[in-house]
Symmetry: C2
């Protein structure tokens, strides 16, 4: 098993970051403009669509201001069954986001791409919460020949 791990600090309250991870408007502002579904209830399903494909995530856990956890139920084969786990904590003026995308079966080249791309989207989340403007797909920062 291989995990993608990241950490960003966002100058905001945890409530604002939690909202950006649990509402379709919030998610559409930093990850992909084409976000639908229900991110605010355990068992809800979020449908994220990108130019290159998409993911469906089932909400496994919601602890307001602290944690959000999803399971990938539809998408690229490498992603199916993996979990995306967000932990939030206030440290001074920052909300610290500890991000994990767990359960990759092999360290394939696509994982390397997704690791970098997650970092870019986390910086988009930070920007959206701090300034009101993120860079969601299709306006996302391109990192390589896979986008």
């Amino acid at each position: 098993m291989v995990d993608i791990l990241h950490r960003v600090g966002i100058r905001s309250s945890v409530a604002e970051v939690y909202e950006a991870l649990t509402t379709t408007d919030g998610l559409a502002g930093w990850w992909t403009a084409d976000t639908q579904g229900d991110g605010g209830d355990p068992g809800g399903v979020l449908r994220f669509r990108f130019g290159a494909g998409g993911f469906d995530m089932k909400v496994l856990e919601l602890t307001p201001g602290q944690r959000v956890r999803w399971e990938v139920i539809e998408g690229p084969e490498e992603w199916i069954g993996t979990q995306v786990d967000w932990k939030l904590a206030q440290e001074g003026e920052h909300t610290i986001v500890l991000f994990h995308h767990r359960g990759w079966r092999e360290p394939v080249e696509f994982l390397h791409h997704c690791s970098t791309k997650w970092a870019v989207f986390l910086m988009s989340l930070k920007s959206m919460v701090e300034t009101g403007k993120g860079a969601p797909d299709p306006h996302d920062v391109k990192i390589d020949n896979w986008n």
Copy 2:
């Protein structure tokens, strides 16, 4: 053992990327302006200094246009003995960089920070090679309360 993995694609020849990883001028253009030492010979030592500290890396392997590998011999305790491994390959108009920072003993919070920060510096490398302008320390993109 835990690894940091990334992938970026740079619109350039592999020779240009290789130069950016093996010369002090190249490294100073995207990682830290305060880069000294010898990155062009196996056994050479590179000294990278940042506002918050620094790293010394011994060059373990140099295969022109294909691979660069360093071992951390001085720096934060978590980094000592880890290896930074760069693999390059041309794919169409891109040089694909497969990046590994291997050998972390534990998935500590500092690893999460370094994973995101490496992604940001890889985007700085991409920018420097493609446009002539990177964002090395002290002009680097800040990601959290650790910088």
